[in-house]
Amino acid sequence: MTDTSRPRGGYIQRDRGWHPPAYHPGYKTSVTRSPQKALLSLPTTLSEETGPVFSQSIIGPRDNDLLHNHAADGESAIGSRILVYGQVRDQSGRGLPATLVEVWQANAGGRYRHQKETYLAPLDPNFGGCGRCLTDAQGYYEFRSVLPGPYPWPNGVNDWRPSHIHFSLFGEAFAQRLITQMYFEGDPLIWKCPIVNTIPSRQAIEDLIAPLDLNASIPMDTLAYRFDITLRGRRQTYFENRPEGL
């Protein structure tokens, strides 16, 4: 009898009506960067059911501490201190261990450390805005940072991004590869943002809003937000349709 404790079938097809459509004129850059022909839908093969492995040896001790990983000795980034944690799991609810989580964000003033960035808010010399970690055996990750500031961006004449953190996720298979953004509970800019509003449903948007978790907060030190991430799951069965003789 084969091990049935974890699913081994092909990956469940991505629900394209749940994700933002490629073409969304409210987000102007999508207009010329969106494929117009239908995607070719096919079951996953080994090429999508495998994915890269990342070793703990590449992860430095401060990689998940954005308060300090770009700071001078004895100093730290300016801003509201936050801890972000959560579980990376698949659609069956199974925690995904040892998977790489990469994050990047603006500083507390809403400024990115990037040469194309033009916002007048100042850089923080002690803040790089980038971090990473591997999930633990149950799929949990955590990192420390500052609350990113909102910032204006050229789309409409007065569009602002809500406070957000970018997440890049791998999972166990390239079929699960995902980049998304985390938003913060209670931010009024979430519902006015053209990028957020590329997502068709309110329910799906709410899946990207991290609640404040006072129980996980560190008294007199750091507020915590919990952000769980769900990657594609696999079908539960081994059975696959195949022609006779193959």
Partner: protein, 205 residues
């Protein structure tokens, strides 16, 4: 009410935005001292088995303008057709090959380059053999969900003709968008067109 299936919804995708390089290739972005090297910048070493190849190309928008803020990743089998993955059950892949590459593109031109090896053949779920191919994943500002495509080789005509995925492409003239062109020995060009008459075939797999 019947029992609940209890599947969770996948987290919805959001664009990687204009600053994806900060998070994914910080050294390229000028944020130095955090990571020893940018992830995915080196796929092989001198002991890696297989034929060395270079793959270069650009990502173009619907007006034919090259993107300079894209992030391109590739995933491929080793020379024997095995993946360097915990999910690989057919055997041990080449320990000197990661199979995964990531390029922020050139600062000026936006062109990506991958120094890798020619991948071996990988079976399709029904047992047929797929032509040698490399999976591509493209994210950028203005791309709401990462785009998935595949590179095949123009000097693998016999294998391409038998490939179970290439055979599924209805508009045969679009097949060409998935074929990398050999420019010189071991150097291939693979341009990705997000939109327009040359639009690349993108997959939902």
């Amino acid at each position: 009410m019947p029992q609940s299936l209890n599947y969770l919804n996948e987290s919805p995708s959001q664009t990687a935005g204009p600053y994806v390089h900060i998070g994914c290739t910080p050294n390229f972005s000028g944020i130095n001292g955090l990571y020893r090297e940018d992830p995915g910048s080196i796929m092989l070493n001198e002991k890696t088995l297989g034929d060395r190849i270079s793959i270069r190309g650009g990502v173009y928008d619907g007006m034919g303008v090259p993107l300079k803020d894209a992030l391109v990743e590739i995933w491929q089998a080793d020379a024997a057709g095995l993946y360097a993955s915990a999910e690989e059950t057919r055997g041990q892949s080449d320990p000197n090959f990661s199979g995964w590459g990531r390029s922020p593109g050139d600062m000026e031109s936006g062109e990506f380059v991958f120094e890798t090896i020619r991948p071996g053949p990988v079976p399709y779920p029904d047992g047929r053999i797929q032509a040698p191919h490399i999976t591509f994943w493209i994210v950028a500002r203005g791309i709401n969900t990462g785009l998935h495509t595949r590179l095949y080789f123009d000097d693998e005509q016999a294998a391409n003709a038998q490939d179970p995925i290439l055979s599924r492409i209805e508009q045969r003239q679009r097949l060409d968008t998935l074929i990398a062109k050999s420019e010189s020995s071991g150097v291939y060009r693979f341009d990705i067109h997000l939109q327009g008459p040359e639009e690349t075939v993108f997959f939902d797999m």
